[in-house]
């Protein structure tokens, strides 16, 4: 706790330190992350795809100089994949070895920590410190209700219960960041235990700054026109508006091709790095690519 106080004494310092690791935050996000560290409380981040939800957790881990433990959620994920599993081949082998050596092996031996495979949640809880690990539970909306219910103990108590071992309580409760793409409503019980922040698209100036930090050596004029074009694409009628991640990919592609000025032709050549749907590319071509580069 006191250590976190040292790393995040106030909102401004945290924002500055995040910027130092190339993650630029506005006041809203800075305040939310600060509170999440200091209350401490898990934080749920939502926002359009590619606004930097996952990056937020990575940046926090960098600032705190601790490992980032990431759990990618998917349909059907369960405790064996998220928390722990027993090492069955090893258990079997031990049984046979003990058998041939004429030793007695008790169940308690077999279900000891030697035979435990630690999945991300357990690794985050058992992180020895001195500072807590950052636990990223990514795209929680992809998991099912059962898994959400399973997470409640972790979110509220920073503890999990393993039937064979008992309750494992974190000595340094991890900083927990959850992200969701809103494919479904999360259960109220999960939300109740979390702070909440919706990450918006940044304003153009900030976005220029962000992409330039990510693509080292990119010229400002090119970055400005890329961000401008991405903004206009977001306002247009596309199904999948490009996020900051796409803007970065795009700028990187342009740099690689040695393009210094964004014109309709350059846009045509690199459109695939911004728009990943054929339909969306058609929409833009119908609008006229020139209209995107003013």
């Amino acid at each position: 706790m006191n250590d976190l106080e040292h790393y995040a004494p106030d909102v401004e310092t945290l924002a500055r330190r995040l910027a130092a690791v190339d993650y630029l935050v506005d006041e809203g996000l800075a305040t939310s992350l600060f509170l999440s560290l200091r209350l401490p409380q898990p934080i749920l981040l939502e926002g359009e795809a590619g606004v930097g939800k996952t990056e937020a957790a990575k940046a926090l881990a960098q600032v705190l100089e601790t490992p980032l433990v990431r759990l990618q959620c998917y349909d059907g994920i369960d405790a064996a994949e998220a928390l722990y599993e027993w090492n069955y081949p090893r258990q079997l082998l031990s049984i046979r070895l003990a058998d041939s050596a004429g030793e007695k092996l008790s169940e308690a031996d077999l279900f000891g920590s030697d035979y435990l495979i630690r999945r991300p949640l357990l690794r985050a809880l058992e992180h020895p410190g001195p500072r807590p690990a950052v636990l990223l539970i990514d795209e929680i909306d992809r998991a099912d209700d059962d898994f959400e219910a399973f997470l409640l103990e972790l979110l509220a108590e920073a503890a999990v219960t393993i039937p064979e071992l008992g309750t494992i309580r974190a000595t340094h409760p991890p900083v927990i960041v959850l992200t969701s793409n809103r494919t479904r409503d999360l259960h109220d019980a999960v939300k109740r235990r979390c702070l909440y922040h919706w990450i918006d698209y940044p304003n153009p100036q900030r976005e220029v700054e962000i992409v330039r930090r990510r693509v080292k050596g990119a010229s400002e004029t090119l970055a400005v026109s890329v961000v401008g074009a991405v903004g206009r694409i977001r306002d247009s009628d596309v199904q999948k508006p490009p996020g900051i991640a796409e803007a970065i990919d795009w700028l990187r592609a342009l740099e690689l091709l040695g393009i210094v000025e964004l014109d309709a032709e350059a846009l045509e050549r690199t459109l695939g790095s911004v728009l990943k749907y054929g339909d969306d590319q058609e929409v833009l071509r119908a609008l006229g690519l020139e209209s995107l580069v003013s």
Binding site: G28, T31, L39, Y74, G76, Y88, D185, R192, L195, Y196
Partner: protein, 424 residues
């Protein structure tokens, strides 16, 4: 510049938010107070963000939150662009039960009938007793208000079941396709560490999600009351939307035990009762905002609409095509199909038809049975995943010698079970 006396401030603000429909619990209020102590809010924007991080639980609550914040602290929220639509959608959610314009859609049959096309109608027979038989076959648009209530009761007997899909989770099954090491090992402890019996597991099978989109425009008005009720019985994993000129998600509004209350709340959530129809527009919003993100993937989609489209039919066709690429099956329920001389001429309907897997009428309670059959149908050519009947845990082999056998054999390996060798 902020009042220094914290507790009353926090309590008052929390209460105002609560009144505005935000789920502000004492727990959250306490967290807010603690956050204020931590940060010493020097400016209103800071205060705003602290309050938002601690008291908000969904971006959809933002408009209500901003309004109350402005009322209490006398300042506008910092300019942040709202995610378009999300915010709007939610400001309705945020105030359940608030009466709105256009709510008349439910209680007042007869409003907005002007748009209806003339069709074969039964002569209005006055019904005194709600005879169940009669009610079952009666067209929804010919129902009297009190009959509607009776209909609701009958409808709750219907059961909707969707086709099954395999999930990634597994369950134990005697003849499952995978070996369950965990259980095998547990069992082997009883046979001296020899995994004699292989426990097996198989992927669990679950019903598919059902997503219902109900047209509540003027032309559908006589049916939409009954159809909304149908939405409420769809069960646990169902998603429900209504649309006329815009799309409103009413899943949460319907999540209550009392059907009357559910429908009242749903009506309050949708501001466009009995107005014109923009099916294409609504489908696009659905695809963009919900379907593509995962809600429609592998789901059974039920669209309840007469297909009368104010906008361009091409858009309906295009969006239906997108939807059909995501969904498992699309079922279109159109009460006009029951008319003897029905041809799908209405622009939207004609454009949508090629992408529908089934077109059914559902104009009366009896006809809804057909809808339920269509929902439960498998996609053509695909064999349904056969759910193995729930079986009891297979008793673990005991090492006690069987009477009459000369070798100590675990039970269950006799030839009577049709296997001569253990399966490993």
């Amino acid at each position: 510049m902020i009042a220094l006396d914290l507790p009353p401030l926090v309590a008052g603000f929390g209460r105002r938010l609560h009144d505005a429909g935000l789920p502000v619990t004492p727990e959250r209020a306490a967290r807010f107070a603690e956050a204020l102590k931590l940060t010493n809010p020097v400016a209103r924007t800071r205060l705003y963000w602290i309050a938002r991080a601690t008291l908000l639980s969904d971006i959809s609550q933002r408009p209500a939150f901003d309004r109350v914040f402005a009322e209490v602290f006398g300042t506008r929220a910092p300019e942040v662009q709202a995610p378009e639509g999300e915010a709007r959608e939610a400001s309705d959610d945020a105030r359940p039960g608030t009466p709105r314009e256009g709510e008349s859609g439910i209680g007042a049959p007869g409003a907005g009938r002007g748009e209806r096309e003339v069709e074969s109608q039964e002569a209005p027979v006055p019904v005194l007793a709600s005879d169940e038989e009669l009610l079952r076959s009666k067209r929804f648009d010919a129902l009297e208000p009190d009959e509607l209530a009776a209909l609701y009761r009958l409808m709750t007997r219907l059961e909707i079941a969707t086709p099954k899909r395999r999930t990634r989770r597994s369950q134990k099954a005697r003849r499952g396709e995978h070996i369950d090491l965990r259980r095998t090992l547990r069992g082997s402890l009883r046979t001296g560490g020899h995994p004699i019996r292989l426990a097996r597991k198989r992927r669990r099978i679950q019903p598919r999600r059902i997503v219902m989109l109900c047209d509540i425009s003027g032309s559908m008005e006589p049916y939409s009351r009954a159809y909304l009720q149908f939405l409420t019985i769809a069960g646990h994993d169902a998603e429900a939307f209504v649309f006329a000129t815009r799309l409103t998600r009413i899943t949460r509004a319907l999540a209550t035990k009392s059907p009357e209350r559910a429908i009242r709340r749903a009506a309050a959530a949708a501001p466009d009762w009995s107005s014109g129809t923009r099916i294409g527009e609504a489908l696009r919003t659905f695809n963009d905002r919900h379907g593509r993100r995962g809600m429609a993937r592998g789901a059974v989609i039920v669209i309840l609409s007469d297909g009368w489209e104010r906008g361009e039919p091409e858009l309906v066709g295009r969006e239906m095509e997108r939807l059909s690429r995501l969904a498992y099956r699309i079922i279109w329920v159109n009460p006009r199909v029951s008319a003897a001389n029905f041809v799908p001429r209405a622009g939207g309907m004609a454009a949508a038809l090629p992408h529908c897997d089934a077109l059914v009428s559902g104009h009366s309670l009896d006809a809804l049975a057909e809808v339920i059959d269509a929902i439960g149908a498998e996609r053509g050519g695909e064999p349904p995943p056969v759910p193995e009947p729930e079986e009891e845990e297979e008793p673990w082999a005991s090492a006690t010698p069987q009477p009459g056998s000369s070798v100590a054999m675990p039970s269950g390996y006799g030839p009577a079970r049709g296997r001569t060798t253990p399966g490993w």
